[in-house]
Amino acid sequence: MTHRLPSVHKADVCCPDQELLARLHADLGSAALGAILAQGLTESGERLDACRQALERGDTATAAREAHTLAGLQRSIGLPALGEAFAALEQQLTRGDRPAGDDLDELASALVQAHAAARDGLPR
Protein backbone atom coordinates (compact mmCIF):
# COMPACT_ATOMS: atom_id res chain seq x y z
CA MET A 1 0.00 0.00 0.00
CA THR A 2 1.37 3.41 -0.96
CA HIS A 3 1.16 6.35 1.42
CA ARG A 4 2.34 9.90 1.04
CA LEU A 5 4.78 11.15 3.65
CA PRO A 6 3.73 14.26 5.53
CA SER A 7 4.60 17.02 3.11
CA VAL A 8 8.33 17.77 3.01
CA HIS A 9 8.40 21.53 3.23
CA LYS A 10 11.80 22.20 1.76
CA ALA A 11 12.20 25.60 3.31
CA ASP A 12 11.94 23.97 6.76
CA VAL A 13 13.81 20.73 6.25
CA CYS A 14 16.67 22.41 4.43
CA CYS A 15 17.29 24.79 7.29
CA PRO A 16 20.37 23.83 9.34
CA ASP A 17 20.42 24.23 13.11
CA GLN A 18 23.05 26.96 13.45
CA GLU A 19 23.66 26.24 17.11
CA LEU A 20 24.39 22.58 16.40
CA LEU A 21 26.62 23.49 13.47
CA ALA A 22 28.53 25.98 15.61
CA ARG A 23 29.10 23.29 18.25
CA LEU A 24 30.30 20.83 15.58
CA HIS A 25 32.59 23.53 14.25
CA ALA A 26 34.01 24.17 17.71
CA ASP A 27 34.55 20.45 18.33
CA LEU A 28 35.95 19.50 14.93
CA GLY A 29 37.34 22.62 13.24
CA SER A 30 36.55 24.00 9.79
CA ALA A 31 38.52 21.57 7.64
CA ALA A 32 37.28 18.40 9.34
CA LEU A 33 33.66 19.58 9.47
CA GLY A 34 33.75 20.58 5.80
CA ALA A 35 35.08 17.13 4.88
CA ILE A 36 32.46 15.42 7.06
CA LEU A 37 29.62 17.40 5.44
CA ALA A 38 30.86 16.36 2.00
CA GLN A 39 31.19 12.77 3.16
CA GLY A 40 27.72 13.00 4.75
CA LEU A 41 26.13 14.13 1.50
CA THR A 42 27.75 11.31 -0.48
CA GLU A 43 26.81 8.72 2.12
CA SER A 44 23.25 10.03 2.39
CA GLY A 45 22.81 9.82 -1.38
CA GLU A 46 24.08 6.24 -1.39
CA ARG A 47 21.82 5.28 1.50
CA LEU A 48 18.77 6.87 -0.14
CA ASP A 49 19.56 4.84 -3.28
CA ALA A 50 19.92 1.71 -1.14
CA CYS A 51 16.57 2.51 0.48
CA ARG A 52 14.93 2.92 -2.92
CA GLN A 53 16.44 -0.35 -4.22
CA ALA A 54 15.36 -2.23 -1.12
CA LEU A 55 11.82 -0.96 -1.63
CA GLU A 56 11.86 -2.06 -5.26
CA ARG A 57 12.62 -5.61 -4.18
CA GLY A 58 10.04 -5.41 -1.37
CA ASP A 59 12.62 -5.43 1.44
CA THR A 60 11.02 -2.87 3.78
CA ALA A 61 13.18 -3.93 6.76
CA THR A 62 16.38 -2.89 4.97
CA ALA A 63 14.68 0.26 3.66
CA ALA A 64 13.61 1.16 7.22
CA ARG A 65 17.13 0.59 8.56
CA GLU A 66 18.58 2.87 5.86
CA ALA A 67 15.98 5.52 6.72
CA HIS A 68 16.89 5.17 10.41
CA THR A 69 20.59 5.74 9.66
CA LEU A 70 19.74 8.64 7.36
CA ALA A 71 17.71 10.25 10.16
CA GLY A 72 20.53 9.85 12.69
CA LEU A 73 23.12 11.10 10.24
CA GLN A 74 21.23 14.31 9.39
CA ARG A 75 20.66 15.03 13.10
CA SER A 76 24.35 14.49 13.79
CA ILE A 77 25.51 16.97 11.14
CA GLY A 78 23.28 19.83 12.17
CA LEU A 79 20.20 19.09 10.05
CA PRO A 80 17.59 18.02 12.63
CA ALA A 81 14.56 18.98 10.52
CA LEU A 82 15.75 16.81 7.65
CA GLY A 83 16.45 14.11 10.24
CA GLU A 84 12.78 14.28 11.29
CA ALA A 85 11.69 13.83 7.67
CA PHE A 86 13.75 10.65 7.41
CA ALA A 87 12.47 9.51 10.81
CA ALA A 88 8.92 9.88 9.45
CA LEU A 89 9.95 7.73 6.47
CA GLU A 90 11.40 5.12 8.84
CA GLN A 91 8.17 5.02 10.86
CA GLN A 92 6.13 4.63 7.71
CA LEU A 93 8.33 1.75 6.53
CA THR A 94 8.30 0.12 9.95
CA ARG A 95 4.51 0.15 9.82
CA GLY A 96 4.80 -1.69 6.50
CA ASP A 97 3.59 1.22 4.36
CA ARG A 98 5.38 2.04 1.12
CA PRO A 99 6.16 5.68 0.45
CA ALA A 100 5.26 7.23 -2.87
CA GLY A 101 8.18 7.51 -5.31
CA ASP A 102 7.76 11.29 -5.33
CA ASP A 103 8.47 11.40 -1.62
CA LEU A 104 11.88 9.84 -2.07
CA ASP A 105 12.61 12.24 -4.91
CA GLU A 106 11.63 15.16 -2.69
CA LEU A 107 13.84 13.85 0.10
CA ALA A 108 16.75 13.45 -2.35
CA SER A 109 16.31 17.03 -3.48
CA ALA A 110 15.98 18.29 0.12
CA LEU A 111 19.17 16.43 0.99
CA VAL A 112 21.21 18.30 -1.59
CA GLN A 113 19.76 21.68 -0.62
CA ALA A 114 20.11 21.10 3.12
CA HIS A 115 23.73 20.04 2.84
CA ALA A 116 24.49 23.03 0.65
CA ALA A 117 22.85 25.29 3.25
CA ALA A 118 24.92 23.65 6.01
CA ARG A 119 28.14 24.19 4.02
CA ASP A 120 27.20 27.79 3.32
CA GLY A 121 26.46 28.35 7.00
CA LEU A 122 29.92 27.32 8.15
CA PRO A 123 32.09 30.06 9.61
CA ARG A 124 34.76 31.09 7.11
Binding site: L20, D27, A35, E43, T69, G72, S76
Partner: protein
Protein backbone atom coordinates in the same frame (compact mmCIF):
# COMPACT_ATOMS: atom_id res chain seq x y z
CA UNK B 1 45.82 -3.38 31.23
CA UNK B 2 49.05 -1.58 32.00
CA UNK B 3 48.75 1.84 33.60
CA UNK B 4 50.62 3.53 30.75
CA UNK B 5 48.84 1.98 27.75
CA UNK B 6 46.47 4.31 25.95
CA UNK B 7 42.97 2.90 26.39
CA UNK B 8 41.49 1.41 23.23
CA UNK B 9 37.97 2.30 22.14
CA UNK B 10 36.20 0.21 19.53
CA UNK B 11 33.53 2.17 17.69
CA UNK B 12 30.87 -0.05 16.11
CA UNK B 13 28.97 2.27 13.75
CA UNK B 14 27.93 1.61 10.17
CA UNK B 15 27.71 5.24 9.05
CA UNK B 16 31.10 6.41 7.79
CA UNK B 17 30.15 10.04 8.34
CA UNK B 18 29.15 9.52 11.95
CA UNK B 19 32.31 7.48 12.46
CA UNK B 20 34.29 10.47 11.16
CA UNK B 21 32.50 12.79 13.59
CA UNK B 22 33.25 10.56 16.59
CA UNK B 23 36.84 10.04 15.50
CA UNK B 24 37.12 13.82 15.21
CA UNK B 25 35.77 14.26 18.74
CA UNK B 26 38.43 11.89 20.06
CA UNK B 27 41.29 13.08 17.84
CA UNK B 28 43.09 14.94 20.60
CA UNK B 29 41.93 12.75 23.49
CA UNK B 30 44.05 10.05 25.10
CA UNK B 31 42.18 7.18 23.43
CA UNK B 32 43.22 4.87 20.63
CA UNK B 33 40.16 4.49 18.41
CA UNK B 34 39.33 1.63 16.04
CA UNK B 35 36.12 1.67 14.03
CA UNK B 36 34.16 -1.12 12.36
CA UNK B 37 30.80 -1.04 10.55
CA UNK B 38 29.44 -4.48 11.52
CA UNK B 39 29.05 -6.80 14.49
CA UNK B 40 31.10 -9.48 12.74
CA UNK B 41 34.03 -7.11 12.33
CA UNK B 42 33.62 -6.06 15.98
CA UNK B 43 33.82 -9.71 17.06
CA UNK B 44 37.10 -10.08 15.18
CA UNK B 45 38.65 -6.95 16.70
CA UNK B 46 37.61 -7.92 20.23
CA UNK B 47 39.08 -11.39 19.72
CA UNK B 48 42.38 -10.01 18.46
CA UNK B 49 42.99 -6.86 20.47
CA UNK B 50 42.64 -5.77 24.07
CA UNK B 51 39.64 -3.45 23.77
CA UNK B 52 38.75 -1.41 26.86
CA UNK B 53 35.50 0.22 25.79
CA UNK B 54 33.06 -0.59 22.98
CA UNK B 55 30.93 2.29 21.69
CA UNK B 56 28.08 0.37 20.14
CA UNK B 57 25.35 1.45 17.74
CA UNK B 58 22.08 -0.50 18.02
CA UNK B 59 20.89 -0.85 14.43
CA UNK B 60 23.65 -2.47 12.43
CA UNK B 61 23.59 -4.18 9.04
CA UNK B 62 24.21 -7.67 10.44
CA UNK B 63 22.24 -7.57 13.66
CA UNK B 64 21.02 -5.81 16.75
CA UNK B 65 23.60 -4.20 18.99
CA UNK B 66 21.67 -5.18 22.13
CA UNK B 67 22.13 -8.87 21.31
CA UNK B 68 25.83 -8.16 20.93
CA UNK B 69 25.83 -6.79 24.52
CA UNK B 70 24.67 -10.23 25.72
CA UNK B 71 27.24 -11.96 23.55
CA UNK B 72 30.18 -9.79 24.61
CA UNK B 73 29.41 -9.81 28.32
CA UNK B 74 29.31 -13.59 28.25
CA UNK B 75 33.06 -13.55 27.50
CA UNK B 76 35.78 -13.42 30.09
CA UNK B 77 37.47 -10.00 30.45
CA UNK B 78 34.69 -8.41 28.41
CA UNK B 79 35.20 -4.72 27.61
CA UNK B 80 32.75 -2.18 28.98
CA UNK B 81 29.99 -1.31 26.53
CA UNK B 82 28.46 2.10 25.96
CA UNK B 83 25.38 1.89 23.75
CA UNK B 84 24.68 4.76 21.35
CA UNK B 85 20.93 5.13 20.99
CA UNK B 86 18.92 7.24 18.63
CA UNK B 87 17.02 10.28 19.80
CA UNK B 88 13.85 9.56 21.81
CA UNK B 89 14.50 5.87 22.36
CA UNK B 90 14.77 5.96 26.16
CA UNK B 91 13.30 2.45 26.41
CA UNK B 92 16.16 1.14 24.28
CA UNK B 93 18.69 2.84 26.55
CA UNK B 94 17.10 1.32 29.65
CA UNK B 95 17.11 -2.09 27.98
CA UNK B 96 20.80 -1.69 27.09
CA UNK B 97 21.75 -0.89 30.68
CA UNK B 98 19.56 -3.73 31.94
CA UNK B 99 21.46 -6.11 29.69
CA UNK B 100 24.73 -4.96 31.19
CA UNK B 101 25.91 -1.99 29.14
CA UNK B 102 27.81 0.29 31.49
CA UNK B 103 26.19 3.43 30.09
CA UNK B 104 24.35 4.85 27.11
CA UNK B 105 24.69 8.00 25.08
CA UNK B 106 21.89 9.53 23.04
CA UNK B 107 22.59 10.69 19.47
CA UNK B 108 23.35 13.35 18.50
CA UNK B 109 25.98 14.09 21.11
CA UNK B 110 28.86 16.53 21.24
CA UNK B 111 32.53 15.96 22.01
CA UNK B 112 32.20 16.90 25.68
CA UNK B 113 29.40 14.42 26.29
CA UNK B 114 31.35 11.62 24.59
CA UNK B 115 34.53 12.35 26.51
CA UNK B 116 32.74 12.56 29.87
CA UNK B 117 31.06 9.21 29.23
CA UNK B 118 34.33 7.56 28.19
CA UNK B 119 36.29 9.10 31.07
CA UNK B 120 33.67 7.95 33.60
CA UNK B 121 33.83 4.43 32.22
CA UNK B 122 37.61 4.47 32.39
CA UNK B 123 37.45 5.69 36.00
CA UNK B 124 35.24 2.71 36.85
CA UNK B 125 37.67 0.34 35.16
CA UNK B 126 40.48 1.84 37.20
CA UNK B 127 38.46 1.28 40.35
CA UNK B 128 37.93 -2.38 39.45
CA UNK B 129 41.64 -2.82 38.67
CA UNK B 130 42.62 -1.08 41.90
CA UNK B 131 40.33 -3.35 43.82
CA UNK B 132 41.72 -6.47 42.13
CA UNK B 133 45.31 -5.31 42.66
CA UNK B 134 44.73 -4.40 46.28
CA UNK B 135 42.97 -7.68 46.90
CA UNK B 136 46.10 -9.49 45.64
CA UNK B 137 48.70 -7.26 47.28
CA UNK B 138 50.00 -8.43 50.64
CA UNK B 139 49.25 -5.84 53.29
CA UNK B 140 46.35 -4.32 51.36
CA UNK B 141 43.95 -6.62 53.08
CA UNK B 142 44.48 -8.97 55.95
CA UNK B 143 42.87 -12.32 56.52
CA UNK B 144 39.19 -11.67 55.68
CA UNK B 145 39.57 -7.88 55.89
CA UNK B 146 39.44 -5.64 52.82
CA UNK B 147 40.97 -2.21 52.80
CA UNK B 148 44.31 -0.49 52.99
CA UNK B 149 43.45 2.76 54.75
CA UNK B 150 45.97 3.93 57.37
CA UNK B 151 43.40 3.10 60.08
CA UNK B 152 43.18 -0.52 58.90
CA UNK B 153 46.93 -0.88 58.33
CA UNK B 154 47.33 -0.08 62.00
CA UNK B 155 44.69 -2.73 62.87
CA UNK B 156 46.48 -5.36 60.76
CA UNK B 157 49.81 -4.63 62.46
CA UNK B 158 48.21 -4.88 65.90
CA UNK B 159 46.49 -8.16 64.99
CA UNK B 160 49.80 -9.64 63.86
CA UNK B 161 51.50 -8.53 67.06
CA UNK B 162 48.63 -9.88 69.18
CA UNK B 163 48.61 -13.20 67.34
CA UNK B 164 52.21 -13.74 68.38
CA UNK B 165 51.46 -12.97 72.03
CA UNK B 166 49.31 -14.58 74.71
CA UNK B 167 47.81 -11.36 76.02
CA UNK B 168 44.08 -10.99 76.62
CA UNK B 169 42.57 -8.74 73.98
CA UNK B 170 39.68 -6.35 74.35
CA UNK B 171 38.14 -5.26 71.05
CA UNK B 172 36.22 -2.02 71.04
CA UNK B 173 34.26 -0.65 68.12
CA UNK B 174 30.86 0.26 66.79
CA UNK B 175 28.54 -2.46 65.52
CA UNK B 176 29.51 -3.72 62.09
CA UNK B 177 33.19 -2.78 62.28
CA UNK B 178 34.43 -6.39 62.17
CA UNK B 179 35.23 -7.19 65.80
CA UNK B 180 34.56 -10.93 65.39
CA UNK B 181 36.57 -10.93 62.15
CA UNK B 182 39.48 -9.42 64.08
CA UNK B 183 39.14 -12.03 66.84
CA UNK B 184 39.16 -14.81 64.23
CA UNK B 185 42.18 -13.25 62.50
CA UNK B 186 44.10 -13.17 65.79
CA UNK B 187 43.19 -16.82 66.35
CA UNK B 188 44.07 -17.90 62.80
CA UNK B 189 47.48 -16.23 62.94
CA UNK B 190 48.33 -17.54 66.39
CA UNK B 191 49.84 -20.88 67.37
CA UNK B 192 46.38 -21.84 68.64
CA UNK B 193 44.91 -22.02 65.14
CA UNK B 194 44.76 -25.85 65.22
CA UNK B 195 42.55 -25.69 68.33
CA UNK B 196 38.98 -24.43 68.40
CA UNK B 197 37.56 -20.94 68.04
CA UNK B 198 34.21 -20.37 69.73
CA UNK B 199 32.21 -17.16 69.61
CA UNK B 200 29.39 -16.22 71.92
CA UNK B 201 27.28 -13.07 71.91
CA UNK B 202 26.70 -12.26 75.57
CA UNK B 203 24.02 -9.71 74.76
CA UNK B 204 21.90 -12.07 72.69
CA UNK B 205 20.56 -14.51 75.30
CA UNK B 206 19.25 -14.56 78.88
CA UNK B 207 21.59 -15.35 81.78
CA UNK B 208 20.66 -18.99 82.41
CA UNK B 209 20.93 -19.93 78.75
CA UNK B 210 24.17 -18.03 78.46
CA UNK B 211 25.57 -19.90 81.44
CA UNK B 212 24.72 -23.16 79.65
CA UNK B 213 26.08 -21.96 76.32
CA UNK B 214 29.31 -20.90 77.97
CA UNK B 215 30.07 -23.48 80.63
CA UNK B 216 28.10 -26.64 79.79
CA UNK B 217 29.98 -29.75 78.74
CA UNK B 218 29.31 -28.92 75.13
CA UNK B 219 29.56 -25.16 75.73
CA UNK B 220 31.75 -22.56 74.11
CA UNK B 221 34.43 -22.68 76.83
CA UNK B 222 35.00 -26.38 76.19
CA UNK B 223 34.86 -26.01 72.38
CA UNK B 224 37.53 -23.35 72.58
CA UNK B 225 39.77 -25.25 75.01
CA UNK B 226 43.35 -24.58 74.05
CA UNK B 227 42.09 -22.21 71.38
CA UNK B 228 40.26 -18.90 71.49
CA UNK B 229 37.01 -17.99 73.21
CA UNK B 230 35.46 -14.83 71.79
CA UNK B 231 32.89 -13.12 73.99
CA UNK B 232 31.07 -10.38 72.15
CA UNK B 233 29.06 -7.65 73.93
CA UNK B 234 30.75 -8.60 77.19
CA UNK B 235 29.44 -5.44 78.87
CA UNK B 236 25.96 -6.97 78.61
CA UNK B 237 26.97 -10.02 80.67
CA UNK B 238 24.75 -10.51 83.74
CA UNK B 239 26.51 -9.79 87.09
CA UNK B 240 26.45 -13.42 88.27
CA UNK B 241 27.95 -14.58 84.97
CA UNK B 242 30.62 -11.92 85.26
CA UNK B 243 31.58 -13.53 88.58
CA UNK B 244 31.72 -16.98 86.98
CA UNK B 245 33.72 -15.65 84.08
CA UNK B 246 36.15 -13.91 86.43
CA UNK B 247 36.61 -17.18 88.33
CA UNK B 248 37.08 -18.99 85.02
CA UNK B 249 39.82 -16.54 84.02
CA UNK B 250 41.50 -16.28 87.44
CA UNK B 251 41.50 -19.88 88.60
CA UNK B 252 43.09 -21.30 85.55
CA UNK B 253 39.82 -23.03 84.72
CA UNK B 254 40.46 -21.74 81.27
CA UNK B 255 43.50 -24.00 81.04
CA UNK B 256 43.12 -27.28 79.28
CA UNK B 257 44.42 -30.58 80.43
CA UNK B 258 47.85 -30.61 81.87
CA UNK B 259 50.40 -29.57 79.33
CA UNK B 260 47.78 -28.13 77.02
CA UNK B 261 47.62 -24.42 76.22
CA UNK B 262 45.24 -22.23 78.20
CA UNK B 263 42.22 -20.90 76.38
CA UNK B 264 42.73 -17.37 75.20
CA UNK B 265 39.86 -15.03 75.85
CA UNK B 266 39.10 -12.17 73.49
CA UNK B 267 36.28 -9.87 74.51
CA UNK B 268 34.50 -7.21 72.55
CA UNK B 269 31.99 -4.45 73.07
CA UNK B 270 30.42 -1.64 71.10
CA UNK B 271 30.28 0.45 74.27
CA UNK B 272 32.94 2.28 76.24
CA UNK B 273 34.06 -0.46 78.71
CA UNK B 274 35.51 2.01 81.23
CA UNK B 275 32.20 3.85 81.30
CA UNK B 276 30.46 0.50 81.85
CA UNK B 277 32.76 0.00 84.87
CA UNK B 278 31.93 3.48 86.15
CA UNK B 279 28.22 2.81 85.70
CA UNK B 280 28.58 -0.46 87.59
CA UNK B 281 27.47 -2.70 84.72
CA UNK B 282 30.92 -4.27 84.26
CA UNK B 283 32.97 -5.57 87.20
CA UNK B 284 36.13 -3.56 87.59
CA UNK B 285 38.26 -6.63 88.42
CA UNK B 286 36.94 -8.43 85.33
CA UNK B 287 37.63 -5.35 83.23
CA UNK B 288 41.28 -5.27 84.32
CA UNK B 289 41.63 -9.01 83.71
CA UNK B 290 40.24 -8.79 80.19
CA UNK B 291 41.31 -5.34 79.10
CA UNK B 292 45.04 -6.11 78.80
CA UNK B 293 45.55 -5.02 75.19
CA UNK B 294 42.77 -2.93 73.69
CA UNK B 295 42.22 -2.93 69.95
CA UNK B 296 39.92 -0.29 68.50
CA UNK B 297 38.17 -1.22 65.28
CA UNK B 298 37.74 2.00 63.26
CA UNK B 299 34.27 2.91 62.00
CA UNK B 300 33.83 2.86 58.23
CA UNK B 301 33.61 6.67 58.05
CA UNK B 302 37.26 6.83 59.22
CA UNK B 303 38.46 4.39 56.56
CA UNK B 304 38.56 6.74 53.54
CA UNK B 305 38.99 4.87 50.26
CA UNK B 306 38.16 1.52 51.87
CA UNK B 307 34.46 2.31 51.37
CA UNK B 308 34.84 2.09 47.60
CA UNK B 309 37.00 -1.04 47.78
CA UNK B 310 34.53 -2.75 50.09
CA UNK B 311 31.60 -1.69 47.91
CA UNK B 312 33.34 -3.06 44.81
CA UNK B 313 34.06 -6.31 46.64
CA UNK B 314 30.50 -6.83 47.85
CA UNK B 315 28.98 -5.79 44.54
CA UNK B 316 31.14 -8.30 42.65
CA UNK B 317 30.42 -10.99 45.19
CA UNK B 318 26.62 -10.51 45.37
CA UNK B 319 26.25 -9.93 41.63
CA UNK B 320 28.20 -13.08 40.86
CA UNK B 321 26.14 -15.09 43.36
CA UNK B 322 22.84 -13.79 41.99
CA UNK B 323 23.85 -13.96 38.32
CA UNK B 324 23.37 -10.20 37.93
CA UNK B 325 25.31 -8.00 35.51
CA UNK B 326 26.68 -5.28 37.77
CA UNK B 327 30.24 -4.28 36.89
CA UNK B 328 30.67 -1.00 38.72
CA UNK B 329 29.24 2.20 40.11
CA UNK B 330 28.33 5.48 38.46
CA UNK B 331 30.28 8.51 39.59
CA UNK B 332 27.19 9.78 41.43
CA UNK B 333 26.76 6.48 43.26
CA UNK B 334 30.41 6.48 44.37
CA UNK B 335 30.07 10.03 45.65
CA UNK B 336 26.91 9.08 47.58
CA UNK B 337 28.67 6.07 49.13
CA UNK B 338 31.61 8.24 50.16
CA UNK B 339 29.40 11.05 51.45
CA UNK B 340 27.33 8.86 53.78
CA UNK B 341 28.59 8.39 57.38
CA UNK B 342 27.66 4.66 57.57
CA UNK B 343 26.51 4.44 61.18
CA UNK B 344 26.02 0.68 60.73
CA UNK B 345 29.53 0.41 59.28
CA UNK B 346 30.65 -2.45 56.99
CA UNK B 347 27.62 -4.54 57.86
CA UNK B 348 25.31 -1.75 56.71
CA UNK B 349 27.26 -1.31 53.48
CA UNK B 350 27.04 -5.06 52.91
CA UNK B 351 23.27 -5.04 53.52
CA UNK B 352 22.71 -2.06 51.21
CA UNK B 353 24.56 -3.77 48.35
CA UNK B 354 22.91 -7.12 48.92
CA UNK B 355 19.46 -5.53 48.78
CA UNK B 356 20.42 -3.47 45.75
CA UNK B 357 21.62 -6.53 43.83
CA UNK B 358 18.41 -8.38 44.69
CA UNK B 359 16.20 -5.50 43.51
CA UNK B 360 18.09 -4.37 40.40
CA UNK B 361 20.00 -5.73 37.45
CA UNK B 362 22.09 -3.42 35.30
CA UNK B 363 25.61 -2.73 34.12
CA UNK B 364 26.31 -0.23 36.85
CA UNK B 365 24.92 0.90 40.16
CA UNK B 366 23.43 4.36 39.77
CA UNK B 367 22.68 6.80 42.56
CA UNK B 368 18.95 6.32 41.94
CA UNK B 369 19.27 2.63 42.89
CA UNK B 370 20.70 3.48 46.31
CA UNK B 371 18.37 3.82 49.30
CA UNK B 372 16.89 7.27 49.65
CA UNK B 373 18.82 8.01 52.85
CA UNK B 374 22.09 7.51 50.99
CA UNK B 375 21.04 10.07 48.42
CA UNK B 376 19.97 12.61 51.02
CA UNK B 377 22.67 11.78 53.58
CA UNK B 378 20.03 11.40 56.33
CA UNK B 379 20.71 8.62 58.80
CA UNK B 380 17.71 6.38 59.33
CA UNK B 381 17.09 5.88 63.03
CA UNK B 382 17.07 2.09 62.90
CA UNK B 383 20.59 1.93 61.49
CA UNK B 384 22.15 4.51 63.76
CA UNK B 385 24.64 2.86 66.06
CA UNK B 386 25.77 6.10 67.63
CA UNK B 387 22.66 8.14 68.03
CA UNK B 388 20.15 7.90 70.82
CA UNK B 389 17.74 5.00 70.89
CA UNK B 390 14.69 5.43 68.72
CA UNK B 391 11.64 6.74 70.51
CA UNK B 392 9.70 4.05 72.31
CA UNK B 393 6.72 2.67 70.47
CA UNK B 394 3.80 5.03 70.69
CA UNK B 395 0.66 4.09 72.47
CA UNK B 396 -1.90 2.66 70.12
CA UNK B 397 -3.59 5.34 68.06
CA UNK B 398 -0.88 7.93 68.72
CA UNK B 399 1.84 9.10 66.37
CA UNK B 400 4.99 10.12 68.22
CA UNK B 401 6.51 13.44 67.21
CA UNK B 402 9.81 11.76 66.33
CA UNK B 403 8.01 9.51 63.83
CA UNK B 404 6.42 12.55 62.20
CA UNK B 405 9.86 14.07 61.78
CA UNK B 406 11.47 10.94 60.40
CA UNK B 407 8.78 9.34 58.27
CA UNK B 408 8.06 11.21 55.07
CA UNK B 409 4.92 10.82 53.00
CA UNK B 410 5.60 8.48 50.09
CA UNK B 411 4.79 11.16 47.50
CA UNK B 412 7.50 13.40 48.93
CA UNK B 413 10.07 10.61 48.77
CA UNK B 414 9.06 9.92 45.17
CA UNK B 415 9.16 13.60 44.26
CA UNK B 416 12.60 14.04 45.70
CA UNK B 417 13.91 10.91 43.94
CA UNK B 418 12.57 12.16 40.59
CA UNK B 419 13.89 15.70 41.06
CA UNK B 420 17.24 14.31 42.10
CA UNK B 421 17.41 12.03 39.05
CA UNK B 422 16.53 14.87 36.67
CA UNK B 423 19.15 17.14 38.25
CA UNK B 424 21.75 14.35 38.09
CA UNK B 425 20.96 13.92 34.38
CA UNK B 426 21.40 17.62 33.66
CA UNK B 427 17.68 18.16 33.14
CA UNK B 428 17.29 15.30 30.68
CA UNK B 429 13.94 13.78 31.67
CA UNK B 430 14.24 10.83 29.31
CA UNK B 431 17.58 9.81 30.75
CA UNK B 432 16.36 10.35 34.32
CA UNK B 433 13.35 8.14 33.55
CA UNK B 434 15.68 5.50 32.18
CA UNK B 435 17.73 5.49 35.35
CA UNK B 436 14.61 5.49 37.51
CA UNK B 437 13.42 2.53 35.42
CA UNK B 438 10.06 4.10 34.62
CA UNK B 439 8.58 5.37 31.36
CA UNK B 440 9.37 9.03 30.58
CA UNK B 441 5.61 9.63 30.36
CA UNK B 442 5.29 8.63 34.03
CA UNK B 443 7.85 11.26 35.02
CA UNK B 444 6.22 13.94 32.86
CA UNK B 445 2.79 13.08 34.30
CA UNK B 446 4.02 13.38 37.87
CA UNK B 447 5.85 16.66 37.17
CA UNK B 448 2.67 18.02 35.65
CA UNK B 449 0.59 16.89 38.63
CA UNK B 450 2.97 18.52 41.13
CA UNK B 451 3.03 21.68 39.07
CA UNK B 452 -0.76 21.83 39.02
CA UNK B 453 -0.82 21.24 42.76
CA UNK B 454 1.54 24.21 43.11
CA UNK B 455 4.23 22.01 44.59
CA UNK B 456 6.71 21.88 41.74
Amino acid sequence: MSETRMPRVLLVEDSQSMTSIYRGYLASAAYRVSAVPTLQAAREVVAEKAVDIVLLDVQLPDGNGLDFVDELLGCEDAPDIIVMTAYATADMAVEAVRRGAIDFITKPFDATRLLVTLDNTLAQQKLRRDYARLARRPGAGFDQFIGDSPAMQSVYQTIEALAASEAAVFLVGESGTGKELAARAIHEHSRRREAGFAALNCGAMPGDRLDQALFADDGAARSARGGTLFLDEVCDLAPELQTTLLRFVQSGASSGNEGAMATRIICATNRDPLQAVQEGTLREDLYYRLHVVPLRMPPLRERGGDIVLLAAHYLASFASGAGKRFRGFSEGAIKALQRYPWPGNVRQLQNVLQELVILHDAGQVTEAMLPDYLQTGHIPVETSARGPDPAPAAAEGQTPQVAREIVEPLWQVEKRAIEHAIAACGGNVNRAAGLLEVAPSTVYRKLQAWKQAGDA
